[in-house]
Subunit: 210 residues, 4 copies
C-alpha cells in the first residue's frame, strides 16, 4: 500500500529524485546542456514528463542539482590533488595539480558553458553546498599547498603562491575555453605536448634573465 514507484526504478533503491538528477547529469555529460528539454530528461530517466515537478521547484532547480552532481562526481573520480606539503617532490605535485585541473575543466566547463545563459540555474547552483566551488576551489587549494611548501622552505620565501596558483589554474582554463568558444566538442580538445612540463618549469624558475 505504499505509493507506487516509477517503473524505471524497479529493483533499484534510488529515490526518484536522485534518479532524475542522475538522468539529467548523464545527458549533460553526453550531449551538453545546449538544447536540453524537460522532456529529454524525462525520457532519459524513463519516467513521466510531469514527475519532475513533484521533486523539484522547476527545470532550473533540477539542472542546478544535476550540475552539482556532475561536478561532485567528476571530482570524486579524479581523486584529491596533493595537499600535504613536504610529501613527494614539488615538481611532481605541481604536475599532479595541472593534470587534475585539465581533466576537471575538460569535464566541467562544457556543462557550465551551456548554463551560463541561465542565471537562475547558476544562482541556485551557487546556493548549494559547494562541492569544491567548481574550479575556483582548486585554485585556492593549490595556493594553500604552495604556501605550505614555502613555509617548509621548498619554495622561494618571496614567491607569490596566489599569483602562481592563479596562473597554473588559469593556464588550464586557457586550454579548454578557446576550444569551447570555437565550438569544438569537449571530447576533441587536445592538450599541447609538453604542456605540464612547460608550466612547471616556468612557474618554478620563471623566464626572466638570470
Amino acid at each position: 500500500m505504499s505509493p507506487r514507484r516509477a517503473s524505471a526504478l524497479r529493483g533499484g533503491d534510488q529515490s526518484l529524485r536522485d534518479h532524475l538528477i542522475a538522468a539529467a547529469e548523464a545527458l549533460m555529460a553526453r550531449r551538453g546542456t545546449a538544447g536540453l528539454t524537460v522532456r529529454d530528461i524525462a525520457r532519459e530517466a524513463e519516467v513521466a514528463d510531469g514527475v519532475l515537478y513533484n521533486h523539484f521547484a522547476d527545470k532550473e532547480d533540477l539542472l542546478a542539482q544535476a550540475l552539482h552532481a556532475h561536478v561532485s562526481s567528476v571530482e570524486r573520480s579524479l581523486g584529491a590533488p596533493p595537499t600535504r606539503a613536504g610529501a613527494g617532490d614539488v615538481e611532481n605535485n605541481l604536475r599532479a595539480y595541472i593534470e587534475h585541473g585539465l581533466r576537471l575543466h575538460i569535464a566541467i566547463l562544457p556543462a557550465f558553458a551551456g548554463l551560463l545563459a541561465q542565471p537562475k540555474v547558476l544562482t541556485r547552483f551557487a546556493g548549494l553546498p559547494n562541492p569544491m566551488a567548481g574550479g575556483r576551489g582548486l585554485r585556492a587549494c593549490l595556493a594553500d599547498y604552495l604556501r605550505a611548501e614555502r613555509e617548509l622552505g621548498r619554495l622561494a620565501p618571496d614567491g607569490d603562491p596566489e599569483a602562481a596558483a592563479t596562473m597554473v589554474i588559469g593556464a588550464c582554463h586557457e586550454v579548454v575555453l578557446p576550444n569551447l568558444l570555437r565550438g569544438v566538442p569537449a571530447g576533441e580538445i587536445e592538450i599541447p605536448p609538453g604542456f605540464a612540463d612547460g608550466l612547471v618549469a616556468t612557474v618554478l624558475r620563471g623566464i626572466g634573465p638570470s
Copy 2:
C-alpha cells in the same frame, strides 16, 4: 527614387544594418545574451519586428555580427598591446599585456558566455574575418613578443614563451570566469590588488627555491 528610411534612423547616417548590430550589441552589453529575443532587439532598435530579416539571414546571423562588432570595438578601444621587443622594459610590457587581457576578458567573456549554448552563432562567428581571434589571439601575440625578447637576450635563453603566455592569459581568464559561473555581473568583477605585479614577478623569477 531612394526607398524610405527607418524612422529610427532619423538624422543619423548609419545604415539600418549597422543600427541593428549596434542595438543587439548594446543589449548584449547591458543585459547579457541570456533571453535575448528578436523582438527585444527590434524594440531596442526602435524598428519593426521584421526588418531584421531584410539584413540578416536569421537571428543567429545578427548575433554573430553583433558579437563580432562587440569584440572589434572593445579591441579598438583597448589599443594594441606592446609588440615591439626591445622597447620599454619587459616588466612594464608584461604588465600592459595583463591589463589588456583583463579588460578584454571582462568585456568579452560575458557576451560569449551567453552564446556558448548557441553553436550556430559560434559557428557563424568563427566564419567572420577574425577581429583578433577572440582572446586566443592575445595569447599567441604575447608568446611572439616573449620569444622576440628572448632572442634579444632580455629573457632567459631556456625560458618557455608558450608556457608563459598561456599562464599569463590564463590567469586573466581565471579572474573573470569563476565570477561568471557564480552569476556575478561583469561590472562588479573585482581585480585582486597587486594582481598584475604578482603575475609579472612570478612569470619572470618563478617561485622555486633559489
Copy 3:
C-alpha cells in the same frame, strides 16, 4: 494514473487525435481549405493551440489525415457502386456509377482543390492507405465492371471499356471542375437535367450515323 483528457472531449469516447481530424474535416467541408490555419482548427476543436503537435507531425500531416477521413467518410456514405456484372441491367448500373461519381466529386473535389497548392499535403496523403484512390479508383472500377459485362456479352465485343470509363468519370469531373474554377461553392453546383440519361445513351449507342 491516466493523464488528463481534453475538456472538449467531455462525455465522448473519441480520442483527441480523432477529434482533431474531425474538426479539420468539418472546417474543410464548411469553409474549404483556403485560409485554414492551425489556430482555426484548434478553435474549431475547442482545444489548445499546441495540442495538434502532440498527435501529428505538423499541420500538413493533420490536413492529409483529415482529407483522408473526408474521402473515406464520403465513400462510406455513398456505398459501393455496382460491381457485379450480369446483375440488374447495364443502363441502370451505368446510371448508378454516374450518380456515384457526381456525388463523390461534388463532395471531394472542393477539399482537394484547396490543397493542390500544398504539395506536402498531397504527398503525405498519397502515402496513406488508399481509401479508394480518390476518384481515380472509381474510373478503374467502372472499367473493370464494363469489361466484365463485355465478357458476358452484354456489351459490344469490340467496345473499349477503358475509353468508356474515362469518358463517364471525366464527364462527372466536367460538371464539378468548371464550377470550382469559377468559385462557385460546392453546395450550389447544379447538375444539368437529363445529365445521366444523356451520358448513358451516348456511351451505349454512340452518336455516329447508323
Copy 4:
C-alpha cells in the same frame, strides 16, 4: 521629361503593366502558382517590389490578369479547334478536339490548381473578358460543332451533342486531374497510347450491344 520607365523595359515598347503580367505568367508556367510571392514576381520582372501597386489593386488582381494572359496565350498557341461542320471528316475533327483539349488542360490546369485556394483571384478572373472560359468554352464549342454536324446528317439525328461533348472534354480532364492530385508535375503527365482513338470510336459507335 516624361516619367521614368522601369529599367527592365529599356528598349521594349511594352507597358510596365503588361511586363508585370508577362513576368507573373512566366512564373506561373514555369513553377506553378504554389508559393508565388509578390517579390518573386518583381524579381522575375527585374523591377522594384512596389511597382505592382501602381498598376494593380493587389496581388490577386495581378494574378488574375496573369492567369487570363496564360490561358489566352495557350489558346492562341493551340490554334482554333475545327468549328466548321461538314469540312474534313468527323473522326478527324473529333480527334483534333481531343488533342486540343489534352494540351489545353495540361497547360492550364496546373496554373488554376494553385489558385483554387485563392477565391479572390478566381472571382476577379471570372470578371475578366472570357478568353474562352478556360475549358468550359471548349466543351460548348465542341457541342456546337457536333450539333452542326448532326444538322448536316453526318451524325445520328437522335445523338446527344451535349452529352458527347461533356464526355470528351471530361475525359481530357480525367487524364490530367488525377495526376495533379498525386502531385505529378505537368511536364510528366503521360497520355495513354491510343487514347484519342478509343475516345473517338466510343463516342461515335458506343459500347452497347449491337
